[in-house]
């Protein structure tokens, strides 16, 4: 017997957690002498009320969907992949190589090539920690976080010594050819007399992210592989009994996770900067952990949580731009959301479960 109806689990708990996080954030804003209501209004207006705001929100959300899915898939196999950051960096390298060295006739083919490159490089970067975990028992949390540093170092070296055009002082690759330029939302949704999403970086990769959400859902709940991944995640001893190889599942789940993290770079590197730059990931690999936690490792939950975090990112930028609220405070607000939705889940869950039990008993 479930303790609560499903809607309470999926909707009510995250909602209450969010409200708690918002209240606490408001208190913090009040404490530094700003008006929380005005701040909230500014965030909503900046991120959601104009199409350009949406253009930014959805651009960030695209990143978070990929990294959130990456963490979610690993979670299902009971692994904590916190190497999304490094895998996304390497994914960026894959995108850059594909875009720079293959002459693409059209963006529609280029995005397929970039997707393959990003997934391949991201997966390759997850492969080594996966192998170390599966064969040697080196903990995946430790190895993936170390690999984040190695990825940053590697990218630094490649950009400075290999991909930097002669004479450039900027540690970045050359600009990608025009044929690889992905259509932005502005290109797609504007009409001659009504320009939408002006200046916003959201691009066609957003739809790739939605497709990834759908595919991951199918993978986890409808395929043999997903069945085995979840079984392994729930009980390794039972998986062994069933003849599911722990080594195989560990490696495959991490390859998929790394590939998804790598895909994020199609959005940032090909869709936005149109060249490979240092630190193109901007911490999205870590935000993915929060997104997966809040989305309960379910692709639809990840989709919603990614949009929420996109809103927080864009709204936060607006706050920094128009008020005296420092950028660091935005990080505090994001941290509060993560704290309440991820870490303090039980704080909300326990009283709610008791409440529902009491209600049910009264009905009986």
């Amino acid at each position: 017997m479930d303790k609560m109806p499903q809607w309470a689990d999926i909707v009510l708990i995250p909602l209450i957690s969010l409200i708690l996080a918002a209240v606490l954030s408001a208190l913090v804003i009040l404490a530094i002498g700003e008006n929380p209501v005005a701040a909230f209004k500014l965030m909503v207006e900046g991120a959601l009320m104009r199409s350009a705001g949406w253009g930014y929100t959805l651009y960030y959300a695209t990143n978070f969907m990929f990294t959130g899915l990456a963490v979610a898939v690993a979670f299902h196999a009971r692994m904590f992949n916190i190497g999304g950051e490094g895998q996304a960096m390497l994914g960026g390298l894959g995108v850059a190589l594909v875009a720079l060295y293959i002459p693409w006739p059209h963006w529609s083919l280029a995005i397929l090539g970039a997707t393959a490159g990003a997934a391949l490089f991201g997966a390759a970067w997850a492969y080594i920690p996966a192998l170390l975990q599966a064969k040697r028992g080196s903990h995946i949390v430790i190895t993936t976080i170390m690999f984040n540093f190695i990825a940053a170092g590697l990218l630094n070296y490649v950009l400075v010594n290999v991909l930097r055009p002669k004479g450039s002082m900027d540690p970045a690759s050359a600009n990608f050819p025009d044929a690889t330029k992905l259509p932005t939302f502005r290109d797609m949704f504007s009409t001659a007399d009504n320009i939408m999403f002006r200046g916003a970086p959201a691009n066609v990769t957003f739809f790739l992210a939605i497709a990834a959400c759908v595919l991951v859902w199918y993978l986890i709940w409808r395929t043999r592989l997903g069945y085995e991944i979840r079984a392994f995640g729930f009980s390794e001893s039972a998986a062994r009994y069933a003849g599911i190889s722990p080594v195989r599942i560990t490696v495959i789940a991490m390859l998929i996770s790394g590939a998804l993290a790598g895909l994020m770079s199609v959005n940032t590197t090909m869709g936005e900067s149109e060249r490979l730059v240092m630190n193109s990931t901007e911490g999205a690999g870590f935000i993915g952990i929060a997104v997966a936690l809040m989305g309960r490792s379910h692709p639809f939950g990840v989709f919603l949580a990614a949009i929420l975090f996109g809103f927080l990112y864009q709204g936060g930028a607006e706050l920094a731009l128009w008020t005296n609220i420092p950028r660091e405070l935005i990080v505090v607000i994001q941290a509060l959301v993560i704290l309440f939705t991820g870490a303090l889940d039980n704080m909300v869950r326990m009283p709610l479960e008791k409440l529902f039990l009491a209600l049910r008993r009264r009905n009986v």
Binding site: M1, R230, S235, S237, A238, G243, S245, L357, R360
Partner: protein
Amino acid sequence: MTAPAIELKGISKAFGPVQANKDISISVMPGTIHGIIGENGAGKSTLMSILYGFYKADKGEIFIKGTKTQIPDSQAAIAVGIGMVFQHFKLVENFSVLENIILGAEEGVLLRPSLAKARKELAHLAKEYELNIDPDALIENLSVGHQQRVEILKALYRRADILILDEPTGVLTPAEADQLFRILDRLRDEGKTIILITHKLREIMDITDTVSVMRRGEMTATVKTSETSPEALAELMVGRKVLLRVDKVPATPGKTVLEIKGLRVIDDKGVERVKGIDLTVRAGEILGIAGVAGNGQSELLEVLGGFAEGTGSIRVNGVALPLSGKGADGQARRHAGIAHVPEDRQREGLIMDYTAWENIVFGYHLDPEYQSGLLMDNTGIQTLAQEKMDRFDVRPPHPKLAAKNFSGGNQQKIVLAREIERNPDLLLVGQPTRGVDIGAIEFIHQQIVNLRDQGKAILLVSVELEEILSLADRVAVMFDGHIMGERAPDQTDETELGLLMAGITEMPDKPIIQAIDEQFDHQQKEREGEQNG
């Protein structure tokens, strides 16, 4: 008239929506042994935990020796003279007997005076109750039976005159259990009051003066043991008539299905668990492996099931199976015609968070009949699960319920439905009725016998000697990784098997329990010799 040693009046306790104890009243006279019998989850342990101060009752009163008493914690329970011997001993393995006995009852800052006092007291107790034990032996070097003795001594040292024993014979050989009962008899004669919690009817009949039966949190009856019978008790436990014996015709064994030669298994810690055994199982027979838990039976099943590695040779229908590396996994074993009902259904046989329908194909999930294109045929599997659950009388018959929400017996039926219905040549069964209610035991045993009658080979491992004796057509006894011998169930008895389970192959000319102790000491010395050499 003397006051009862313990009197409980109207005890109730609920955990959330579950009513673990409902208005329970019981009174136990001093100097008697009172049995409490009931199925798993009937509320026996909850009731005793309330008596020992682990839980607080929602309602009800406790009287100890006629005085109304509050027992908020175990210290208070000890103070009023209650001692508890848990199913899983609470001993520090690398402490001596003496150190364990004073643990928590040390007096003063320095240990030496308390140890000296305990040594004197222990000698006195040993004489009074015939509880002989070397006070300086380390717990890890003691046999399970002796460890249990230390637990009893611990309680007596704390001046307990009411002893509660929770499933005390679960880990003992029959001879050790007999020895325990002799100790309990002696304690009763000295005026101690004993409460024995068990699910074994035979123990109740053998030793108790009165018995209370619990079912679903309620006390359904309290009767004098001399005025009842096992059948009557079983009926009270389950709420309907129960067949205690398995109905079966003699086996008609056919060709050899499983042939094991020189099998050895070394576990993760480098300890050899199976030390070169030979066994055969033929079609249409049940080979029962008896033995005290931890003598290599689990490892034997794991290697056969493909999730542990070993050396030696295993043939099924004449085909050699790889014992390590490629091809030594559960999938390959299933393809070879082996089905496996594992010992631990919660850790191995089922994914507790999976629904019943997901579990009904677990291990066979790659089979083409469960696929539709690239995806799994979830609707087809759900229909199949519904059919199987109906056939095996799984309650509630809801395929979409998670496995963890079924009772132990119904979980086991889900596993059986999956394994038996795949029509295997060889069925491995480990502890088929552990944690299973009596009502379901009957059904499960019948299913195993039916499969045998269809001409399948069955290897049954169980620590319940009664189960082995009633199901098996041949009994092999395992001890310390060896097969000590094979017997026909109708040409042996619990005494002989009990000796084999302790590693003794010939009837000794001294008291049995003494022979077992000597055998254990001998074993211990050998082990030390191995370590030193």
